[in-house]
Structure formats: C-alpha cells, structure tokens
C-alpha cells in the first residue's frame, strides 16, 4: 500500500494538458489517419489501372539450360525500342506482329488480372521472379523462353491456348500454382492472352539479342524475319495438338497394368530417371544437365499422385506422348496402345490418400 501511495503522491503529477495541446494531438491524429487511408485507396487504384513505376525489364544475361549468354548494355539499348514498339508497356500492352491477331481491350483486362493475381510470383516481365518467387520450390514459370512444360502438342511445338487455360483453371498440384476455376471465364481467357504476350515478348527479346551478338544489324529485314518465325511458332501450336481418340483405346485392367509395368522397366526405360519404384530416384539423375530454365532436374515421384499436369488418364497420356517440354523427359517413341498401358501402370502407382 505504501508503494502505491508513494507513486500517487501529488508532487509527482505531470502538468495537465493545455487546450492547445489537446487540439494539436486531435488534429495530428485525424490528419495521419486520413493520409493513411487515402494512400491505401490510391495504391489499389493505381495498381489496377495505371501501373506507375512498373516496366518491362530486359535481361542482362539469357539462360537456356547450361548456356548462359551475357547481353551487353549497348545490345539491350538497341533491342529495347523495338520490343516497346511491338509489345508496348505494362500499362499499355499490345502484340503488334504481322500475321498475329490480338485484342487490345482483352490484353488490358488480362494485364489487370495478372497484376492482381499472378505478378507476385511470376513478376512484372513474366520472368518468374516476383517478390514471392524466391520462397517457392519449384520456382514459378519464367514465360520468356516461350517454353511451357505441360502441353498437348508434339514435342517440337509450343503450347496451345487450351494448354495454358488448363493450367490456370486446374492449377498445378504439388506446386504453389493455384486453380482459378471459379473466376470469371473472360478474365481467365484474358490472362492467358497476357501470358502469351509476355512469353512472345521474352522470346523476341532473346531472338533479337542473339542476332545482334551474331553480328547482324537489327534492320527491318532482320526484325521482319524474326517476327515471322515467332508468329509461325505460336500459330503452329494449335495445329500440332496431338489428336487423341474419344474413348480410351485400351481400358485399365490388370493385364494392361502388367504390360505397362513391363514397359516401365524395359523398352520405355522410365526407371533410369523415375526409379524402379517410381519415386523419381533413378540412377541417371545424378549429374544431369539443368532444365531449359537452368533449374536442377527432379523427375516426378509417381507414387504421390499430385502430378503437375494433372492425374487424369488423358493428362498422363499427354506427358508420355509429348514429354515434358524444357526437361529431359522425352516424348514417347512407342505405339499408342503401349502408351495407354503405361498410363494405367503409372496411375496405379499412387499410394492411398
């Protein structure tokens, strides 16, 4: 009691606040609150509508697998204006390529959706190096090489719109890529447009830089040549879709699984990477070159069931048929019946949920 008493001794009381001080604190409080709320509203508006401060960045070095090419500043200075002329800026994206149809309004819509939902991992330029990316394994896709792993096209062809749409709608099990299945379908279609825009832009950057390093001048003929190649590659994807029959030609059965197991160990040589039990621990993985993005090779653990490209029979079939692009997983060189046998065997490897 004495202690409390002494703390409260009137001699120690601070001087009471004057009314001027009251006013000062009240004004300061309301001013700070208004500024904070205002800045928040402004930030949301700006990011959605005009991405101030965001710009596409050119690469100082281009990585493709083991090959690393340094791009000197003077080369970047020559490439940048051509890229901007053809592809615009984050605030005003476009695809200005002869022979490629592009819907400007939809690109804008896709860009806004991208900034809200994708940029954090995939980055402003689509380099797969947004602020969250460094915390993720596997890394987010770098679109700029024009390569996408999970496609329905033959192994030499690019991804189709449908392939990219499938990834956005279904997500990628086992990675941080979530599904956007309940979002407005037009937004999702638009963001696929925008991803293709980023991907084309990155490829074009690489093509032009390589021409410069080869000693070419970036005159009109050279640029037109590269535009033609780029458009051709993307336009061909749609027609390179691997046709598949409406019904599975070989239904799943104990016999089909046994034949698949035989192929897995034998002619298919799957075990060299995926291991005898399918856990992705085969002997060939040691010392393998990195994938096209420069990341180490990690063959799929086939017992987990969380296949990146999907677990449906058709998904597994497409992986075996087209391979996984940008990685050593090859497209299959066997008959379709054999591939379906393998599909059923691989799907049977999943451990219980």
């Amino acid at each position: 009691m004495r202690l409390i008493g002494s703390l409260h001794s009137p001699a120690d009381r601070p001087a009471p606040m004057t009314s001027g001080e009251h006013g000062f604190y009240a004004r300061t409080f309301f001013l700070v609150a208004a500024v904070v709320v205002g800045l928040g509203v402004l930030a949301v508006y700006v990011v959605d509508n005009s991405p101030i401060g965001m710009r596409y960045v050119l690469r100082t070095r281009i990585v493709r697998g083991k090959a690393v090419t340094e791009i000197p500043a003077d080369a970047r200075a020559k490439v940048e204006p051509i890229l901007t002329e053809r592809f615009g800026t984050p605030a005003a994206p476009k695809i200005d390529l002869e022979g490629w149809e592009s819907d400007g309004a939809r690109l804008l819509r896709g860009a806004a959706f991208y900034r809200r939902n994708c940029m954090h991992c995939h980055g402003v330029t689509g380099d797969g190096d947004g602020p969250t990316a460094r915390f993720l394994t596997p890394r987010p896709r770098d679109y700029r090489l024009g390569v996408f792993k999970f496609t329905s096209t033959v192994s030499s062809a690019k991804a189709t719109r449908e392939d990219l749409l499938h990834t956005v709608l279904e997500g990628m099990p086992g990675t941080m890529m979530p599904s956007f299945s309940l979002y407005d379908r037009e937004d999702v279609e638009a963001v696929v447009d925008y991803v293709i825009h980023l991907s084309m832009r990155g490829e074009f950057e690489e093509a032009l830089a390589m021409r410069l390093l080869d000693g070419d001048d970036l005159d009109e003929d050279v640029v037109e040549e590269e535009v033609e190649l780029l458009v051709e590659g993307w336009a061909d994807a749609a027609s390179s879709r691997q046709p598949v029959p409406v019904v599975q030609p070989v239904p799943s059965s104990a016999e089909a699984i046994a034949r698949g197991s035989e192929l897995f160990r034998g002619a298919g040589n799957c075990i060299s990477c995926h291991g005898p039990s399918g856990r992705g621990d085969g002997p060939s993985v040691q010392g393998m070159d990195p994938d096209v993005w420069g990341n180490p090779i990690r063959p799929a653990d086939l017992t987990r069931g969380d296949f990146r490209g999907g677990f449906r029979p058709i998904d597994v079939f497409r992986r075996i048929h087209a391979g996984v692009k940008g990685t050593p997983m090859p497209g299959g060189s066997m008959t379709e019946e054999q591939m379906w046998d393998l599909v059923h065997y691989i799907r049977s490897l999943r451990r219980g949920d």
Partner: protein
Amino acid sequence: MARLWGLLFLTVPVAGTGAFVWASRSGHWFPRNTSSFGAEIDGLFYVILWITATAFVATTGLLGWLLLRHAERPGARARYTHGNLRVEGTLAALTTGMLLYIAVTQFGTWKKVKFASGFPDVPTLAHVTAGQFEWRITYPGADGEFGTPDDVHSLNDFHVPVDRDAVFVLQSRDVLHSFFLPHMRVKQDAVPGLRIPVWFRPLEEGTFDLVCAELCGWGHFKMRGRLTVQSPEAFAAWLAQRKAEEEAANP
C-alpha cells in the same frame, strides 16, 4: 477542448450501437441460415451479443458521461481512490456468472457440432484439402474408399446432397486455413498434419459461398470456393459426370 474528447469517446458507443442496428435492418447481417444446426448457433451468438452489447453500452456510456461531467472545471482537484471492494466484488461476481452461463449454455450445441461422438453415423462423404490458394475435394466413388482409382475429384466446388448429413474430413497441405460456410454456420480450422472431421446438414438447394476464414498467405483473397447443394439424384448425376470427364480420353 477536454469536452470535445468526452464527446469523441461518446461517439464510439453511439456509432457502434447504431452500426449494429442499421446492419441488422438493411441486409448487412447474417446470411440466411440453411443448415440443420444453424439456428442453435445463431441463438448462442445472440446470447453473447446481448450480454456484450449491454456491457459495452454501459461502460463506454459511463466513460463518456464521466468525461463530460468532470471536464473543464477550473480549480477542482483530482481525488485518488483505490477502489470499492463492494462494487468490485459485485462486478466480478456478475462477470463470472455471465461467463459461466455462456460456457454452460453452449455445451449441448458444441457437442453436437464439433465432437466426433456427437456426429451422425454416416459414411465419409469427401476429403476436403485446403492449400494455398485453392480447395481440392475428393469423393470416394462407388467403392466408398479413398485413394482408389474410382475416386472423383473436384476443384473449389464442393457438391453435397440436400437434406442429408454431410460428414467430411478436412485437411491442409501447407498452412493454417479455415473452412467457412457462412450459410451453414460451419467454420473449422484446417490444420496441417491433422485430419479433422466436420459435418453439417444443408436444408436448401442452391449455391453458397465457401471461403477461407484464416489469413493463409499473401494470396488469401484469391482462395475462392463454392458449395453446391443438390438433390440426391442431381448429386449422383454430377458425380457420374465428373467421373466420366476424368476418364474420357478426349475431354
């Protein structure tokens, strides 16, 4: 100036109470209840709301009144007091009584909704796995077992039959999430490493929100979900259709 602070403090109970009254009369209140135990949950909510609302209005009102009453009285000296045992004892007893009342009155509902022993005895309808930032739902298929080839999968869209007890297992593949069905009055944390059984019984067909109610990462806002309540026939047809789509060679 000191009077202004008193008024400022008084705006809190006035605006706070006003917001509740306005919200309850203009459709900003609870969504319609469509589950069998929802009314009981709402009842418990109102018990707590009335107790806390009374205490809130009384204490903040008293604070504001005291501030106004004693503001700007030149020459008046502050008095120091160490409290009044009788008043404090009464308040403590009152608070204890209220807390005990709240604790005891929710026993029955809590047991029914959350305790596995109170669960309806029906087979598990599905496994719901939360992840950053999506819901993956697995149905056992015809054999009733999970992890077999006839499993049926759904993404973000949780289908359940109407007027049946839906018992499912909730799990998380990465961080804490919270499975929240506002219309069903169901909210349950999904905890990594735990398989948590959850149940409810929807009484109405339609589509309802399924949201994550635990800040689960920077993309929490993206984690959209939907609950689709269907007639048992439509539910069975949907399962069959999903299965056919999964198995089709050319979807």
